[in-house]
Symmetry: C2
Subunit: 249 residues, 2 copies
Protein backbone atom coordinates (compact mmCIF):
# COMPACT_ATOMS: atom_id res chain seq x y z
CA UNK A 1 0.00 0.00 0.00
CA UNK A 2 2.83 2.34 0.83
CA UNK A 3 4.44 1.41 -2.44
CA UNK A 4 1.50 2.92 -4.21
CA UNK A 5 2.09 6.27 -2.61
CA UNK A 6 -0.55 6.39 0.14
CA UNK A 7 1.36 8.71 2.43
CA UNK A 8 -1.67 9.55 4.53
CA UNK A 9 -1.30 6.30 6.51
CA UNK A 10 0.26 6.51 9.92
CA UNK A 11 1.24 3.66 12.19
CA UNK A 12 0.25 3.97 15.83
CA UNK A 13 3.11 5.19 18.00
CA UNK A 14 3.78 2.58 20.63
CA UNK A 15 6.37 2.45 23.36
CA UNK A 16 9.81 3.92 23.70
CA UNK A 17 11.55 0.77 22.57
CA UNK A 18 13.32 0.24 19.27
CA UNK A 19 10.12 -0.58 17.44
CA UNK A 20 8.48 2.56 18.86
CA UNK A 21 11.38 4.63 17.57
CA UNK A 22 11.00 3.01 14.18
CA UNK A 23 7.26 3.62 14.06
CA UNK A 24 7.60 7.26 15.10
CA UNK A 25 10.25 7.79 12.43
CA UNK A 26 7.96 6.12 9.96
CA UNK A 27 5.18 8.56 10.71
CA UNK A 28 7.43 11.56 10.36
CA UNK A 29 8.65 10.20 7.06
CA UNK A 30 5.08 9.67 5.90
CA UNK A 31 4.37 13.34 6.56
CA UNK A 32 7.49 14.23 4.62
CA UNK A 33 6.49 12.04 1.71
CA UNK A 34 2.99 13.51 1.61
CA UNK A 35 4.66 16.89 1.25
CA UNK A 36 6.83 15.48 -1.52
CA UNK A 37 3.68 14.54 -3.41
CA UNK A 38 2.31 18.06 -3.05
CA UNK A 39 5.64 19.53 -4.11
CA UNK A 40 5.84 17.20 -7.09
CA UNK A 41 2.32 18.16 -8.11
CA UNK A 42 3.01 21.87 -7.79
CA UNK A 43 6.49 21.63 -9.24
CA UNK A 44 5.38 19.52 -12.17
CA UNK A 45 2.53 21.91 -12.82
CA UNK A 46 4.49 25.11 -12.58
CA UNK A 47 7.57 23.97 -14.45
CA UNK A 48 7.78 22.09 -17.71
CA UNK A 49 8.01 18.36 -16.85
CA UNK A 50 10.97 17.86 -19.21
CA UNK A 51 12.80 20.78 -17.66
CA UNK A 52 11.98 19.55 -14.16
CA UNK A 53 13.40 16.12 -15.00
CA UNK A 54 16.61 17.67 -16.34
CA UNK A 55 16.88 19.85 -13.24
CA UNK A 56 16.40 16.94 -10.85
CA UNK A 57 19.09 14.97 -12.68
CA UNK A 58 21.50 17.85 -12.39
CA UNK A 59 20.75 18.45 -8.73
CA UNK A 60 21.77 21.93 -7.76
CA UNK A 61 23.52 22.67 -11.03
CA UNK A 62 21.82 25.18 -13.24
CA UNK A 63 22.33 25.73 -16.92
CA UNK A 64 25.17 28.17 -17.22
CA UNK A 65 24.17 29.28 -20.68
CA UNK A 66 24.76 27.97 -24.17
CA UNK A 67 24.22 29.14 -27.74
CA UNK A 68 21.79 26.99 -29.67
CA UNK A 69 19.93 27.24 -32.92
CA UNK A 70 16.26 26.98 -32.11
CA UNK A 71 12.88 27.75 -33.59
CA UNK A 72 10.82 30.19 -31.54
CA UNK A 73 7.03 30.41 -31.73
CA UNK A 74 4.76 33.10 -30.30
CA UNK A 75 1.05 32.36 -30.04
CA UNK A 76 -1.33 35.17 -29.16
CA UNK A 77 -5.10 35.61 -28.99
CA UNK A 78 -6.53 38.26 -31.30
CA UNK A 79 -8.39 41.11 -29.63
CA UNK A 80 -8.21 39.54 -26.21
CA UNK A 81 -7.74 42.72 -24.16
CA UNK A 82 -11.10 44.33 -25.08
CA UNK A 83 -12.82 40.98 -24.62
CA UNK A 84 -11.26 40.55 -21.17
CA UNK A 85 -12.24 44.08 -20.18
CA UNK A 86 -15.88 43.36 -21.01
CA UNK A 87 -15.98 40.06 -19.11
CA UNK A 88 -15.43 38.66 -15.62
CA UNK A 89 -11.85 37.93 -14.59
CA UNK A 90 -12.67 34.26 -14.08
CA UNK A 91 -14.09 34.03 -17.61
CA UNK A 92 -11.01 35.69 -19.08
CA UNK A 93 -8.73 33.24 -17.31
CA UNK A 94 -10.95 30.29 -18.27
CA UNK A 95 -10.88 31.39 -21.91
CA UNK A 96 -7.10 31.68 -21.94
CA UNK A 97 -6.76 28.33 -20.27
CA UNK A 98 -9.08 26.71 -22.84
CA UNK A 99 -6.63 27.91 -25.49
CA UNK A 100 -3.55 26.81 -23.59
CA UNK A 101 -5.08 23.37 -23.05
CA UNK A 102 -4.69 23.12 -26.83
CA UNK A 103 -1.34 24.89 -27.17
CA UNK A 104 0.69 23.21 -24.42
CA UNK A 105 0.01 19.56 -25.31
CA UNK A 106 0.53 20.33 -29.01
CA UNK A 107 3.96 21.84 -28.27
CA UNK A 108 5.04 19.21 -25.77
CA UNK A 109 3.93 16.25 -27.90
CA UNK A 110 6.07 17.60 -30.76
CA UNK A 111 9.14 17.75 -28.49
CA UNK A 112 8.95 21.51 -27.87
CA UNK A 113 8.98 23.48 -24.64
CA UNK A 114 6.41 26.07 -23.56
CA UNK A 115 8.77 28.63 -22.09
CA UNK A 116 6.37 31.20 -20.68
CA UNK A 117 2.93 32.68 -20.79
CA UNK A 118 2.84 36.40 -21.50
CA UNK A 119 -0.57 37.88 -20.80
CA UNK A 120 -2.77 36.34 -23.48
CA UNK A 121 0.13 34.80 -25.34
CA UNK A 122 2.67 32.04 -25.03
CA UNK A 123 6.29 31.65 -26.05
CA UNK A 124 7.29 28.16 -27.15
CA UNK A 125 10.72 26.97 -28.20
CA UNK A 126 11.81 23.97 -30.24
CA UNK A 127 15.43 22.87 -29.78
CA UNK A 128 16.00 24.02 -26.18
CA UNK A 129 16.51 23.04 -23.41
CA UNK A 130 16.71 19.71 -25.24
CA UNK A 131 17.99 18.98 -28.73
CA UNK A 132 15.34 18.52 -31.38
CA UNK A 133 16.08 17.44 -34.92
CA UNK A 134 14.15 19.49 -37.50
CA UNK A 135 12.99 22.06 -34.94
CA UNK A 136 11.66 24.37 -37.66
CA UNK A 137 9.51 21.60 -39.12
CA UNK A 138 8.25 20.69 -35.66
CA UNK A 139 7.25 24.29 -34.91
CA UNK A 140 5.41 24.73 -38.21
CA UNK A 141 3.61 21.41 -37.77
CA UNK A 142 2.53 22.49 -34.27
CA UNK A 143 1.31 25.87 -35.52
CA UNK A 144 -0.86 24.22 -38.17
CA UNK A 145 -2.17 21.79 -35.57
CA UNK A 146 -2.97 24.59 -33.10
CA UNK A 147 -4.78 26.62 -35.72
CA UNK A 148 -6.82 23.59 -36.76
CA UNK A 149 -7.74 22.69 -33.18
CA UNK A 150 -8.62 26.29 -32.29
CA UNK A 151 -10.90 26.57 -35.31
CA UNK A 152 -12.55 23.25 -34.44
CA UNK A 153 -12.96 24.16 -30.77
CA UNK A 154 -14.00 27.82 -31.00
CA UNK A 155 -15.50 28.03 -34.50
CA UNK A 156 -14.24 31.57 -35.07
CA UNK A 157 -15.15 32.73 -31.55
CA UNK A 158 -11.45 32.89 -30.69
CA UNK A 159 -8.69 33.46 -33.19
CA UNK A 160 -4.93 33.21 -32.71
CA UNK A 161 -1.93 34.74 -34.40
CA UNK A 162 1.26 32.68 -34.58
CA UNK A 163 4.73 34.00 -35.44
CA UNK A 164 7.68 31.63 -36.00
CA UNK A 165 11.37 32.39 -36.41
CA UNK A 166 14.54 30.32 -36.44
CA UNK A 167 17.91 31.52 -35.18
CA UNK A 168 20.66 31.27 -32.63
CA UNK A 169 19.78 32.22 -29.05
CA UNK A 170 21.50 32.02 -25.72
CA UNK A 171 19.58 29.55 -23.56
CA UNK A 172 20.26 29.52 -19.86
CA UNK A 173 18.97 29.77 -16.36
CA UNK A 174 18.40 33.41 -15.62
CA UNK A 175 17.62 35.04 -12.34
CA UNK A 176 18.86 35.73 -8.89
CA UNK A 177 17.89 35.91 -5.26
CA UNK A 178 16.10 32.58 -5.23
CA UNK A 179 14.06 33.10 -8.39
CA UNK A 180 15.38 31.42 -11.53
CA UNK A 181 13.83 30.67 -14.89
CA UNK A 182 14.96 28.93 -18.01
CA UNK A 183 15.13 31.83 -20.45
CA UNK A 184 16.09 32.55 -24.04
CA UNK A 185 18.10 35.63 -24.91
CA UNK A 186 18.60 36.97 -28.39
CA UNK A 187 17.20 38.83 -31.32
CA UNK A 188 15.66 35.67 -32.76
CA UNK A 189 13.10 35.80 -29.94
CA UNK A 190 12.27 39.48 -30.51
CA UNK A 191 11.86 38.87 -34.24
CA UNK A 192 9.39 36.04 -33.59
CA UNK A 193 7.38 38.36 -31.31
CA UNK A 194 7.34 41.13 -33.91
CA UNK A 195 6.35 38.72 -36.67
CA UNK A 196 3.47 37.44 -34.55
CA UNK A 197 2.29 41.05 -34.18
CA UNK A 198 2.52 41.39 -37.95
CA UNK A 199 -0.18 38.73 -38.44
CA UNK A 200 -2.65 41.49 -37.53
CA UNK A 201 -1.73 43.44 -40.65
CA UNK A 202 -1.07 40.62 -43.11
CA UNK A 203 -4.24 38.83 -42.00
CA UNK A 204 -2.48 35.46 -41.82
CA UNK A 205 -3.03 33.20 -38.84
CA UNK A 206 0.54 31.92 -39.16
CA UNK A 207 3.60 33.87 -40.32
CA UNK A 208 7.06 32.35 -40.77
CA UNK A 209 10.29 34.24 -41.31
CA UNK A 210 12.60 33.34 -44.19
CA UNK A 211 15.06 31.99 -41.59
CA UNK A 212 12.38 29.55 -40.47
CA UNK A 213 11.47 28.57 -44.04
CA UNK A 214 15.17 28.06 -44.87
CA UNK A 215 15.44 25.78 -41.85
CA UNK A 216 12.61 23.49 -42.95
CA UNK A 217 13.52 20.00 -44.10
CA UNK A 218 10.17 19.80 -45.88
CA UNK A 219 8.49 22.92 -47.17
CA UNK A 220 4.75 22.82 -46.52
CA UNK A 221 2.23 23.63 -49.23
CA UNK A 222 0.18 26.78 -48.67
CA UNK A 223 3.13 29.21 -48.15
CA UNK A 224 2.36 32.75 -49.31
CA UNK A 225 5.20 35.25 -49.75
CA UNK A 226 4.28 38.42 -47.82
CA UNK A 227 7.40 40.33 -48.78
CA UNK A 228 10.16 41.94 -46.72
CA UNK A 229 9.47 44.18 -43.74
CA UNK A 230 11.66 46.36 -41.57
CA UNK A 231 11.02 45.47 -37.95
CA UNK A 232 11.24 48.02 -35.17
CA UNK A 233 14.82 48.35 -33.98
CA UNK A 234 16.24 46.14 -36.77
CA UNK A 235 18.32 47.34 -39.70
CA UNK A 236 17.90 44.32 -42.02
CA UNK A 237 14.40 43.69 -43.37
CA UNK A 238 12.85 40.32 -42.62
CA UNK A 239 10.97 38.44 -45.31
CA UNK A 240 7.87 36.68 -44.08
CA UNK A 241 5.58 33.95 -45.40
CA UNK A 242 1.95 33.37 -44.51
CA UNK A 243 0.83 29.80 -44.00
CA UNK A 244 -2.76 28.76 -44.50
CA UNK A 245 -3.41 25.85 -42.16
CA UNK A 246 -6.47 24.80 -44.17
CA UNK A 247 -4.44 24.18 -47.34
CA UNK A 248 -1.19 23.16 -45.63
CA UNK A 249 -0.24 19.52 -45.25
Amino acid sequence: MLLRGDYSRRLPVVQDDDLGVLVASFNRMQAGLAERQRLQAAFGTYVDPGLAARLLEQGDDVFIGERREVTVMFVDIRDFTPWAEANAAEDAVARLNALFEIVVPAVVEAGGHVNKFLGDGALAVFGAPNDLVSHADAAVRVAVRIQGLVTARFAGGLRVGIGINTGVVIAGTIGGGGKLEFTLIGDAVNVAARVEQMTKTTGDAILLTDRCVDGLAARPSGLIDRGSHVLKGKSTPVRVFGLDAATSR
Copy 2:
Protein backbone atom coordinates in the same frame (compact mmCIF):
# COMPACT_ATOMS: atom_id res chain seq x y z
CA MET B 1 9.67 12.26 22.80
CA LEU B 2 7.74 9.45 21.20
CA LEU B 3 4.90 9.28 23.66
CA ARG B 4 2.28 11.19 21.76
CA GLY B 5 0.47 8.21 20.32
CA ASP B 6 -2.90 6.65 20.72
CA TYR B 7 -2.44 4.31 23.68
CA SER B 8 -5.83 2.74 23.28
CA ARG B 9 -4.47 0.90 20.28
CA ARG B 10 -2.69 -2.38 20.69
CA LEU B 11 0.94 -2.79 19.93
CA PRO B 12 1.07 -4.29 16.44
CA VAL B 13 2.42 -7.80 16.36
CA VAL B 14 5.40 -7.62 14.06
CA GLN B 15 6.69 -10.83 12.56
CA ASP B 16 10.10 -11.15 11.01
CA ASP B 17 8.57 -10.92 7.58
CA ASP B 18 6.63 -7.83 8.52
CA LEU B 19 9.72 -6.19 9.92
CA GLY B 20 11.55 -6.95 6.70
CA VAL B 21 8.79 -5.28 4.73
CA LEU B 22 8.90 -2.32 7.08
CA VAL B 23 12.65 -1.94 6.66
CA ALA B 24 12.35 -2.17 2.90
CA SER B 25 9.64 0.50 2.98
CA PHE B 26 11.93 2.60 5.13
CA ASN B 27 14.68 2.47 2.57
CA ARG B 28 12.33 3.44 -0.21
CA MET B 29 11.02 6.27 1.93
CA GLN B 30 14.56 7.47 2.57
CA ALA B 31 15.07 7.71 -1.18
CA GLY B 32 11.76 9.52 -1.49
CA LEU B 33 12.73 12.00 1.20
CA ALA B 34 16.04 12.74 -0.50
CA GLU B 35 14.06 13.51 -3.62
CA ARG B 36 11.78 15.75 -1.57
CA GLN B 37 14.82 17.76 -0.58
CA ARG B 38 15.88 18.16 -4.20
CA LEU B 39 12.34 19.07 -5.22
CA GLN B 40 12.10 21.64 -2.46
CA ALA B 41 15.38 23.16 -3.57
CA ALA B 42 14.38 23.26 -7.22
CA PHE B 43 10.80 24.30 -6.53
CA GLY B 44 11.87 27.08 -4.19
CA THR B 45 14.36 28.24 -6.77
CA TYR B 46 12.15 28.11 -9.81
CA VAL B 47 9.05 29.57 -8.28
CA ASP B 48 8.70 32.64 -6.15
CA PRO B 49 8.89 31.45 -2.51
CA GLY B 50 5.79 33.47 -1.56
CA LEU B 51 3.84 32.03 -4.45
CA ALA B 52 5.08 28.53 -3.65
CA ALA B 53 3.89 28.89 -0.06
CA ARG B 54 0.48 30.08 -1.20
CA LEU B 55 0.28 27.18 -3.65
CA LEU B 56 1.22 24.58 -1.08
CA GLU B 57 -1.41 25.93 1.31
CA GLN B 58 -4.05 25.71 -1.36
CA GLY B 59 -3.06 22.22 -2.47
CA ASP B 60 -4.32 21.56 -5.94
CA ASP B 61 -6.39 24.71 -6.13
CA VAL B 62 -5.17 27.32 -8.54
CA PHE B 63 -6.04 30.96 -8.67
CA ILE B 64 -9.08 31.22 -10.85
CA GLY B 65 -8.49 34.84 -11.71
CA GLU B 66 -9.23 38.15 -10.02
CA ARG B 67 -9.09 41.84 -10.89
CA ARG B 68 -6.62 43.78 -8.79
CA GLU B 69 -5.06 47.21 -8.89
CA VAL B 70 -1.34 46.68 -9.00
CA THR B 71 1.84 48.51 -9.91
CA VAL B 72 3.83 46.87 -12.67
CA MET B 73 7.57 47.42 -13.17
CA PHE B 74 9.69 46.43 -16.16
CA VAL B 75 13.47 46.42 -15.76
CA ASP B 76 15.64 46.00 -18.82
CA ILE B 77 19.36 46.18 -19.58
CA ARG B 78 20.35 48.80 -22.12
CA ASP B 79 22.07 47.56 -25.26
CA PHE B 80 22.32 44.02 -23.98
CA THR B 81 21.74 42.21 -27.28
CA PRO B 82 24.87 43.57 -29.07
CA TRP B 83 26.90 42.97 -25.91
CA ALA B 84 25.67 39.38 -25.67
CA GLU B 85 26.40 38.77 -29.35
CA ALA B 86 30.03 39.86 -28.85
CA ASN B 87 30.56 37.71 -25.76
CA ALA B 88 30.41 34.09 -24.66
CA ALA B 89 27.00 32.68 -23.73
CA GLU B 90 28.18 31.93 -20.21
CA ASP B 91 29.33 35.54 -19.77
CA ALA B 92 26.00 36.87 -21.02
CA VAL B 93 24.09 34.70 -18.58
CA ALA B 94 26.49 35.60 -15.76
CA ARG B 95 26.03 39.30 -16.50
CA LEU B 96 22.25 39.04 -16.47
CA ASN B 97 22.35 37.07 -13.28
CA ALA B 98 24.58 39.68 -11.64
CA LEU B 99 21.84 42.20 -12.38
CA PHE B 100 19.04 39.95 -11.20
CA GLU B 101 20.92 39.27 -7.98
CA ILE B 102 20.23 42.95 -7.35
CA VAL B 103 16.72 43.16 -8.80
CA VAL B 104 15.09 40.11 -7.22
CA PRO B 105 16.01 40.74 -3.58
CA ALA B 106 15.12 44.43 -3.95
CA VAL B 107 11.65 43.53 -5.25
CA VAL B 108 11.00 40.73 -2.77
CA GLU B 109 12.19 42.69 0.27
CA ALA B 110 9.72 45.45 -0.63
CA GLY B 111 6.84 42.95 -0.75
CA GLY B 112 6.74 42.66 -4.54
CA HIS B 113 6.81 39.61 -6.79
CA VAL B 114 9.21 39.00 -9.67
CA ASN B 115 6.77 37.54 -12.15
CA LYS B 116 9.04 36.57 -15.04
CA PHE B 117 12.32 37.10 -16.78
CA LEU B 118 12.01 38.13 -20.38
CA GLY B 119 15.30 37.88 -22.23
CA ASP B 120 17.42 40.57 -20.63
CA GLY B 121 14.53 42.04 -18.68
CA ALA B 122 12.28 41.27 -15.76
CA LEU B 123 8.64 41.95 -14.99
CA ALA B 124 7.87 42.66 -11.33
CA VAL B 125 4.48 43.29 -9.78
CA PHE B 126 3.51 44.97 -6.55
CA GLY B 127 0.05 44.10 -5.19
CA ALA B 128 -0.33 40.57 -6.61
CA PRO B 129 -0.52 37.70 -5.87
CA ASN B 130 -0.57 39.20 -2.38
CA ASP B 131 -2.05 42.50 -1.21
CA LEU B 132 0.39 45.33 -0.74
CA VAL B 133 -0.55 48.69 0.72
CA SER B 134 0.99 51.60 -1.25
CA HIS B 135 2.12 49.37 -4.11
CA ALA B 136 3.03 52.37 -6.27
CA ASP B 137 5.29 53.79 -3.56
CA ALA B 138 6.89 50.38 -3.07
CA ALA B 139 7.62 50.04 -6.80
CA VAL B 140 9.16 53.52 -7.07
CA ARG B 141 11.27 52.95 -3.97
CA VAL B 142 12.52 49.66 -5.44
CA ALA B 143 13.33 51.30 -8.79
CA VAL B 144 15.42 53.98 -7.08
CA ARG B 145 17.16 51.31 -5.03
CA ILE B 146 17.90 49.15 -8.08
CA GLN B 147 19.31 52.08 -10.01
CA GLY B 148 21.52 53.04 -7.09
CA LEU B 149 22.80 49.49 -6.58
CA VAL B 150 23.41 48.97 -10.31
CA THR B 151 25.42 52.20 -10.50
CA ALA B 152 27.42 51.19 -7.43
CA ARG B 153 28.04 47.66 -8.70
CA PHE B 154 28.73 48.29 -12.39
CA ALA B 155 29.91 51.92 -12.40
CA GLY B 156 28.29 52.66 -15.75
CA GLY B 157 29.39 49.36 -17.30
CA LEU B 158 25.77 48.20 -17.24
CA ARG B 159 22.77 50.49 -17.35
CA VAL B 160 19.11 49.67 -16.84
CA GLY B 161 15.85 51.20 -17.97
CA ILE B 162 12.86 50.94 -15.65
CA GLY B 163 9.23 51.60 -16.58
CA ILE B 164 6.47 51.69 -13.96
CA ASN B 165 2.70 51.83 -14.37
CA THR B 166 -0.27 51.43 -12.05
CA GLY B 167 -3.62 49.98 -13.10
CA VAL B 168 -6.11 47.18 -12.86
CA VAL B 169 -5.05 43.79 -14.19
CA ILE B 170 -6.46 40.31 -14.16
CA ALA B 171 -4.17 38.13 -12.07
CA GLY B 172 -4.55 34.40 -12.32
CA THR B 173 -3.00 31.06 -13.00
CA ILE B 174 -2.71 30.70 -16.74
CA GLY B 175 -1.81 27.65 -18.72
CA GLY B 176 -2.81 24.15 -19.62
CA GLY B 177 -1.59 20.64 -20.23
CA GLY B 178 0.48 20.50 -17.05
CA LYS B 179 2.21 23.86 -17.44
CA LEU B 180 0.82 26.72 -15.39
CA GLU B 181 2.15 30.13 -14.45
CA PHE B 182 0.91 32.98 -12.34
CA THR B 183 0.31 35.64 -14.97
CA LEU B 184 -1.01 39.18 -15.28
CA ILE B 185 -3.35 40.12 -18.09
CA GLY B 186 -4.24 43.65 -19.07
CA ASP B 187 -3.24 46.82 -20.75
CA ALA B 188 -1.55 48.11 -17.60
CA VAL B 189 1.21 45.56 -18.21
CA ASN B 190 1.66 46.50 -21.86
CA VAL B 191 1.82 50.19 -20.94
CA ALA B 192 4.58 49.53 -18.40
CA ALA B 193 6.55 47.63 -21.06
CA ARG B 194 6.14 50.45 -23.59
CA VAL B 195 7.11 53.07 -21.03
CA GLU B 196 10.26 51.11 -20.19
CA GLN B 197 11.14 51.14 -23.89
CA MET B 198 10.57 54.89 -23.87
CA THR B 199 13.45 55.38 -21.41
CA LYS B 200 15.74 54.94 -24.43
CA THR B 201 14.39 58.11 -26.02
CA THR B 202 13.80 60.26 -22.94
CA GLY B 203 17.19 59.29 -21.51
CA ASP B 204 15.75 58.67 -18.04
CA ALA B 205 16.74 55.58 -16.12
CA ILE B 206 13.27 55.47 -14.54
CA LEU B 207 9.98 56.52 -16.12
CA LEU B 208 6.63 56.55 -14.28
CA THR B 209 3.22 56.95 -15.86
CA ASP B 210 0.78 59.54 -14.51
CA ARG B 211 -1.33 56.64 -13.21
CA CYS B 212 1.63 55.55 -11.10
CA VAL B 213 2.33 59.09 -9.87
CA ASP B 214 -1.35 59.53 -8.99
CA GLY B 215 -1.19 56.32 -6.98
CA LEU B 216 1.73 57.49 -4.85
CA ALA B 217 1.03 58.25 -1.19
CA ALA B 218 4.24 60.30 -1.09
CA ARG B 219 5.53 62.00 -4.22
CA PRO B 220 9.30 61.68 -4.51
CA SER B 221 11.53 64.63 -5.27
CA GLY B 222 13.31 64.54 -8.60
CA LEU B 223 10.23 63.97 -10.82
CA ILE B 224 10.58 65.48 -14.29
CA ASP B 225 7.50 65.86 -16.52
CA ARG B 226 8.32 64.29 -19.91
CA GLY B 227 4.95 65.13 -21.47
CA SER B 228 2.24 62.97 -23.02
CA HIS B 229 2.96 60.26 -25.55
CA VAL B 230 0.77 58.11 -27.75
CA LEU B 231 1.78 54.49 -27.23
CA LYS B 232 1.56 51.93 -30.01
CA GLY B 233 -1.93 50.46 -30.17
CA LYS B 234 -3.38 52.89 -27.59
CA SER B 235 -5.77 55.74 -28.34
CA THR B 236 -5.29 57.82 -25.16
CA PRO B 237 -1.86 59.41 -24.71
CA VAL B 238 0.05 58.53 -21.56
CA ARG B 239 1.87 61.21 -19.61
CA VAL B 240 5.20 60.11 -18.22
CA PHE B 241 7.60 61.40 -15.58
CA GLY B 242 11.31 60.79 -15.37
CA LEU B 243 12.79 60.09 -11.97
CA ASP B 244 16.40 60.81 -11.18
CA ALA B 245 17.49 58.30 -8.56
CA ALA B 246 20.45 60.46 -7.56
CA THR B 247 18.23 63.36 -6.49
CA SER B 248 15.23 61.29 -5.37
CA ARG B 249 14.67 60.46 -1.72
